[in-house]
């Protein structure tokens, strides 16, 4: 029962990351993924594993919001220069596109999770949540309209990998997993407020 609930929380965190738009959406995504997947990895790693993923997610959320209050820093403009927007007509809005791809990803994660053995965890649910987080990363990269989307995609990929690794064997892996997700959060914080390259519906 607990396993199912925690896996569902991981799925919800990834779903937030799938559909979020804008800097505040990115901040909410980082927090939701950190808490959701942190709950999943706590099944095998306990509080330390939860603290790592939840802490990184929460810290990324806070930093994105804080940098928004300090426009003088403007890390994205400092890194990338001015980025005027290009208009492009699309059949689907970006959220609809992500939703459609997400449904496909959901089915793929459901099928694949039965073929992955995550250490001692025998249930499909937790592995499904990790796989779905990874697929959300792929979808964000594939449908990305700008640097912030790509950074969010990389963050999702790192969180999915980290949660799968922690789920498999939490002992001894915590230091390098922490380093991995923290490094993935850096570009997300730096590029969260960058302008998209293209707009359009």
């Amino acid at each position: 029962m607990t396993t199912g609930l925690l896996a569902a929380a991981g799925f919800v965190g990834s779903a937030v990351a799938l559909l979020s738009v804008g800097p505040r959406g990115l901040a909410a995504s980082a927090l939701a993924m950190g808490l959701g997947l942190g709950g999943v990895v706590s099944l095998t790693g306990g509080v330390p594993s939860f603290a790592v993923l939840g802490g990184v997610g929460g810290m990324a959320c806070l930093l994105i919001l804080a940098l928004g209050r300090l426009p003088v820093i403007a890390s994205a403009r400092w890194l990338l220069g001015n980025t005027p927007v290009v208009g492009r007509e699309r059949v689907f809005d970006v959220r609809s596109l992500r939703l459609l791809a997400g449904v496909g990803g959901l089915l793929a994660a459901r099928l694949l999770s039965g073929h992955l053995a995550a250490g001692t965890v025998s249930t499909q649910g937790p592995a499904f949540a990790c796989l779905f987080a990874w697929e959300v990363g792929v979808i964000r990269v594939a449908t990305g309209r700008g640097p912030s989307d790509l950074a969010m995609g990389a963050f999702c990929l790192a969180m999915g990998t980290a949660s799968f690794v922690l789920l498999s064997s939490a002992r001894g892996t915590l230091p390098w997993v922490s380093l991995m997700v923290a490094m993935a959060a850096v570009p997300l914080v730096l590029l969260a407020r960058s302008a998209p390259w293209e707009t359009g519906s």
Partner: protein, 415 residues
């Protein structure tokens, strides 16, 4: 160790000279030559020691184990950059580009030393991300630049994903095909082959000197990463991975060979380079000595001749470069492509035929480029600084008759 620390310290000093010296030609040349000398000292330290390549991927942060071939290739890349700086005119690499290149060459070398997929993912992400940021700043908000950013994220993500499921790392099992797909995705993203071959479209908006990042740094890094990953995974993973790499390499070679032949003269060289990237990918994928040798010869060929093949170059250096690159015997391009075909003969006659077709397309593209090089529009007096570039381009002519063992020695490879 003392050699290595001293070389690293002095290299940083040389880097500072480059950064502070701006575009002063004398300072740039001096700084670059000092850096090469120090790199030589460091490389000799590495080359003299026996560092066996790690047999398998390691969990976590793994360990750094420098290999001679890595030292040889990275030293060659930095040396070529130094020569390119000394030969380039006003359109040559800027001081900022040189500094970034030197920093990134350290990241690339580290990525090729590690046996940890997580560390490799971070370093490859840094390497490609930095190149993207640089190109974004140079070219402005071009949609085509986005493909490079995507490649960076995909390479990093695939390596991270593979770190979670490779059987030698994790207890439990993922289908070997899934692991092979993830590792292949990472290699193709770094090498810039299908389905991640959007980068040649960016070069036209950046200027020819920016191509040095791809030609001298990312392409060799991708090739070596491919060779290392194939060697370090289990045969159950390596086998489908090699087949995928061969298939994608062939598709890239055919597509970009066709585009190089039919496209305008302006972007012909980046397309030819992309085509050869496919041949390098397939060559290493064959897993034979001929395939690896072919990759090395093609890399050296582009190192030597690529600098003079920009659209703004005058006719004589371009002509020499294109002749060397063309695939006409006995020049360098011919030897590289012949070795790929030889490697493919043991694999499949159909694959050999496709490789011959791709080589033919490149020959046609080179012929078209040679014809345009002879037009009066591009004729101009040879500047003294171009003598080095012409000498380098002439190296592609000689490369074809140099024994392959000499190329092995140059790259630090001892079969």
């Amino acid at each position: 160790m003392i050699w290595a620390l001293g070389a690293a310290g002095l290299a940083l000093a040389a880097l500072a000279v480059l950064l502070l010296g701006g575009r002063s030609r004398l300072v740039q040349i001096a700084g670059a030559l000092v850096f090469v000398a120090l790199g030589g000292a460091l490389a000799s330290h590495l080359l003299l020691l026996e560092h066996p390549a790690p047999a398998r991927l390691a969990e976590g942060l793994g360990a750094l184990s420098p290999t001679r071939i890595m030292a040889g290739i990275m030293l060659g890349a930095v040396a070529m950059l130094a020569l390119e700086i000394s030969s380039a005119g006003e359109g040559g690499p800027s001081a900022a580009a040189e500094a970034l290149f030197l920093i990134l060459s350290v990241a690339a070398a580290s990525a090729l030393c590690t046996n940890s997929l997580v560390v490799a993912a971070g370093l490859v992400g840094l390497l490609m991300g930095a190149v993207w940021v640089r190109w974004q700043r140079v070219a402005g908000p071009q949609l085509s630049v986005r493909s490079v950013a995507r490649q960076a994220v995909v390479a990093t993500g695939c390596l991270l994903g593979a770190a979670a499921v490779v059987p030698s790392v994790r207890v439990g099992g993922a289908p070997p095909l899934l692991e092979a797909i993830l590792l292949t995705g990472a290699v193709t993203a770094v090498l810039g082959v299908f389905p991640f071959s959007g980068w040649p479209g960016v070069i036209g908006r950046l200027g020819h000197s920016e191509l040095a990042f791809w030609r001298l740094l990312l392409l060799p890094t991708g090739a070596l990463l491919e060779a290392r990953l194939v060697a370090m995974t289990t045969s159950a993973v390596a086998s489908p991975m090699r087949e995928l790499l061969i298939g994608l390499g062939l598709a890239t070679a055919l597509f970009w060979g066709m585009r190089a032949l039919l496209g305008p003269d302006q972007g012909r060289y980046p397309r030819t380079l992309a085509c050869d990237g496919g041949l390098i990918c397939a060559g290493i994928g064959f897993g034979t000595l001929e395939g690896l040798s072919a990759a090395m010869v093609l890399l050296v060929c582009h190192w030597l001749g690529g600098a003079v093949l920009g659209p703004d170059e005058t006719s004589r250096p371009r002509l020499v470069g294109w002749i060397g690159m063309s695939g006409v015997p006995p020049f360098g391009g011919f030897t590289g492509r012949l070795l790929v075909v030889l490697a493919a003969t043991a694999f499949s006659p159909v694959v050999s035929g496709i490789l011959l077709l791709a080589s033919g397309l490149q020959l046609g593209a080179s012929a078209a480029a040679m014809r345009s090089s002879l037009s009066p529009r591009t004729a101009g007096a040879l500047r003294w600084s171009q003598v080095v570039a012409v000498a380098l381009a002439a190296g592609t002519l000689v490369l074809g008759v140099v024994p392959v063992t000499a190329v092995h020695l140059l790259m630090g490879f001892r079969p």
